[in-house]
């Protein structure tokens, strides 16, 4: 028996801490301080435990295999329940832990005016524990259990503010389609079990190549569709939009930053471990196709949105599309870029959702057509939002750009290597989607933070420090991961990508065999981008220009100091009319673009009908298509 404090126990501790916290909050949650401390302690503990594993797993390439009750291999069969932590698992676990930590810090102030806060924290920690369990688990059935736990918690949290518009509806739709997905996972799991009679992931990975037949292909399709519902890929994206829009912002962070990642994690495990020996090209095609479609459809859907959080939700799926596309490229560079982007997505999307939550917290609405001009009232939130927006839109030097840039390179290199014009198309879609993303975030900046302040929001204040602190954490991460792409690749995404490409080590580790780390060179991009140098140059140039400008009395401006009665001079120019509140509505901002695409947009609008039957039908059709595709092509 190992020492209880040995690092092999850390993964299970990290999960248990969260569930224990959930349990304790049920007991002691009546006290405000107690529950906040408990929640914070659990998430901090979980994060700390995972971070302490970084040097071993990421740098040394160690794979931690932990058998529950020390029931290791017996007779060639993995009977016990295992946690198996390789670089990929740890990579996702770290993302999750960070997102959960920040979200928890944010919740303390954000949720303080709600009822039933103990239940909130309980569900929150269960959700976190579920996702963490999912990514650390080495057992397919346990993955299913965790999926159910997190779906449950997520549904309950979506409906948490059940008086909010559409919250119940969103929760119900999520529950129905999510259950279809879970059932698919269960059915897929059991079909694999029928073939090879094991549920241990490593052993499954080892055995499936010998049992590749129609049944396993159906199982693959079922699992793929099941994890796709968790990642909200097209055609499951309307659920994400509904759920994100209705849930409290701190939960939206988890749904977008954590839940979708669990889906991506599942898909990676599925494609690169379980079915690693399957012919790669059709599966690559499937991943890249679904990814590109998600990327493009969701970004265009986002352009048409009028609600801040719904818009963010669609972007969330669009970014997941990037991740899936990159992962589907199956090159070291692509996978590394995809994982990098997954991480960045968690960070900047978390930041954006928190900013949306801050706006909702202060103004009570997220309707883009009603908001405006908040930058004067909420300057910090604005800056933080802008960092997030610049990140997601791929503006250098923030993290979104760093990873997207790698994705472009990877896609184009892949296109050139294979000579496949489809990858070229994907590169172009990825490049254009980035600009479309920028467009919709320009829209949000204009409609929420800049533009004119409506009368009803005259007395809006800045959000409390606790919330700003949480957002700042994400913002700092945004900048850091953007400025240090090499470090991130070396420390986090690179090892994870190596792990993905070497499933043999994973399989071997489960049997207790240490395989040497192949010191494969880190993926190299074709182009060059060193954000630090660029930032240095920009800083010097900006400093110089500012200096010159200030010497030229740039800061001598006439401003309306009194602020009382507006002299006409400081009024806005309205062709001489008295200023009235008038602003182009958020949804109608890009008329010139939408006009050319009006048939597409009206088609998409009709398609997203909001009827749960339609969404279920999409799920069924997707399932049918996946099964048909795999049966025909493979």
């Amino acid at each position: 028996m190992m020492n209880v404090l040995s690092y092999q126990h850390f993964p299970i501790y990290a999960i248990m801490v969260l569930f224990l916290g959930a349990f304790l909050i049920v007991l002691f949650g009546k006290n405000k301080i107690a529950r906040s401390c408990l929640a914070l302690l659990s998430v901090t503990g979980s994060l700390a435990l995972l971070v302490s594993l970084v040097p071993r797993v990421m740098l040394n390439g160690e794979i931690i295999t932990y058998w529950m009750g020390n029931r290791a291999y017996a007779g060639g069969y993995a009977i016990g329940i295992a946690l198996e932590v390789d670089a990929l698992s740890l990579f996702f676990a770290l993302l999750i832990a960070v997102a959960v930590f920040v979200s928890c810090v944010y919740s303390i102030r954000y949720m303080e005016h709600d009822d039933n806060i103990p239940q909130y924290y309980t569900l929150f920690l269960m959700l976190a524990g579920g996702v963490l369990g999912l990514v650390l688990s080495g057992d397919l059935f346990n993955m299913f259990i965790m999926v159910e736990i997190l779906t449950f918690a997520a549904v309950a949290l979506t409906a948490f503010r059940n008086t909010a518009r559409g919250a119940l509806e969103a929760a119900f739709k999520y529950l129905v389609v999510g259950s279809i997905g879970s059932t698919c996972i269960l059915a897929g799991t059991i079909m694999l079990y029928a073939q090879v009679h094991t549920l241990n992931f490593a052993q499954l990975s080892a055995l499936i190549p010998g049992h590749l037949n129609g049944s396993t292909r159906v199982a693959f399709a079922l699992l793929f569709v099941g994890f796709s519902t968790k990642a909200f890929l097209v055609p499951f994206h309307p659920l994400a939009a509904d759920a994100h829009g209705a849930a409290p912002a701190s939960i939206s962070v988890l749904i977008s930053g954590v839940l979708t990642k669990s889906g991506i994690y599942g898909i990676i495990r599925l494609v690169y471990f379980l079915f690693q020996s399957m012919g790669l090209r059709p599966i690559q095609f499937m991943l890249v196709f679904v990814g590109s479609v998600s990327m493009f459809v969701c970004v265009t859907m986002a352009l048409a949105q009028h609600d801040f959080k719904r818009l963010l939700a669609f972007h969330s799926i669009s970014q997941i599309g990037y991740v899936l596309t990159a992962v589907g490229l199956s090159t070291a560079l692509g996978i590394s870029a995809g994982l990098y982007h997954a991480m960045n997505h968690t960070i900047f999307k978390g930041l954006l959702f928190l900013a949306a939550g801050a706006v909702l917290h202060e103004t009570g609405t997220t309707d883009l057509d009603r908001l405006g001009g908040l930058s004067k009232r909420m300057p910090h939130t604005t800056v933080l939002f802008l960092i997030g927006a610049a990140s997601i839109s791929g503006i250098p030097p923030f993290n979104g750009f760093a990873s997207k840039w790698l994705i472009y390179q990877a896609a184009y290199l892949r296109a050139v290597e294979t000579g496949n014009i489809g990858y070229l198309l994907v590169t172009i879609i990825a490049l254009v989607t980035s600009t479309l993303t920028l467009a919709s975030f320009v829209k949000v900046s204009q409609s929420v933070f800049f533009g004119r302040l409506p009368e009803e929001f005259k007395d809006v204040k800045e959000v409390p420090f606790g919330m700003r602190f949480a957002m700042s954490l994400f913002a700092i991460l945004c900048v850091l991961t953007g400025l240090l792409p090499d470090l991130v690749t070396k420390l986090l995404s690179g090892p994870a990508a190596q792990a993905v490409l070497n499933p043999i080590r994973y399989i071997a580790a489960a049997r207790g065999i240490e395989m040497p780390v192949e010191n494969a060179a880190l993926p190299q991009a074709a182009g060059a981008w060193s954000p630090i140098n660029w930032l240095l140059l920009l800083g010097i140039a900006l400093f110089a220009i500012t200096l010159v400008a200030l010497l030229g009395k740039y800061d001598q401006v006439s401003e309306n100091a009194s602020g009382e009665k507006l002299p006409a001079k400081y009024d806005l120019f309205f062709s001489g009319e008295k200023s009235v509140y008038s602003q182009v509505g958020g949804g109608d901002l890009f008329w010139g673009f939408k006009h050319n695409w009006r048939h597409y947009f009206s088609f998409m609008h009709d398609l997203h009908s909001g009827v749960v039957n339609d969404y279920a039908l999409w799920a069924v059709v997707a399932l049918a298509l996946a099964i048909a595709f795999l049966q025909i092509v493979l």
Partner: protein, 116 residues
């Protein structure tokens, strides 16, 4: 008989999906989910079934290579799955009640404030 089970499981899953897709009543949707769940449970149990096997209840002393029993793992899975299915049903029914309070209807075609 085993084939019959598989067909029944498949039929139940498809019936559940059919109910979810075509019925515009929230409660019927929940029923569809349950049916689908039962179908999968049936599938699991069927997979674990070995014709002629005994119940997998042994002590270590009784276990020997020649003992022939049904696979116990799927049965354990089924139990878990049933529990989860029950939870899903309970949760969705709770949501349906709340939706009915708020929307005053059970028709899914009218529960579509979020769309587009």
């Amino acid at each position: 008989m085993i084939l019959m089970n598989y067909i029944a499981a498949f039929f139940l899953i498809v019936l559940g999906l059919y109910t979810i897709v075509t019925k515009y009543n929230l409660v019927k949707t929940v029923i569809g989910l349950s049916i689908m769940d039962y179908g999968v449970n049936l599938l699991i149990v069927t997979i674990g079934f070995n014709p002629g096997g005994t119940a997998p209840i042994f002590t270590f002393s009784e276990l020997n290579p020649s003992s022939f029993f049904v696979d116990p793992i799927p049965q354990a899975l089924t139990l878990t799955s049933i529990v989860i299915g029950a939870c899903v049903t309970a949760m969705s029914l709770a949501l349906v009640m709340k939706i009915y309070e708020q929307y005053g209807t059970m028709d899914t075609r009218e529960v579509r404030r979020l769309r587009g």
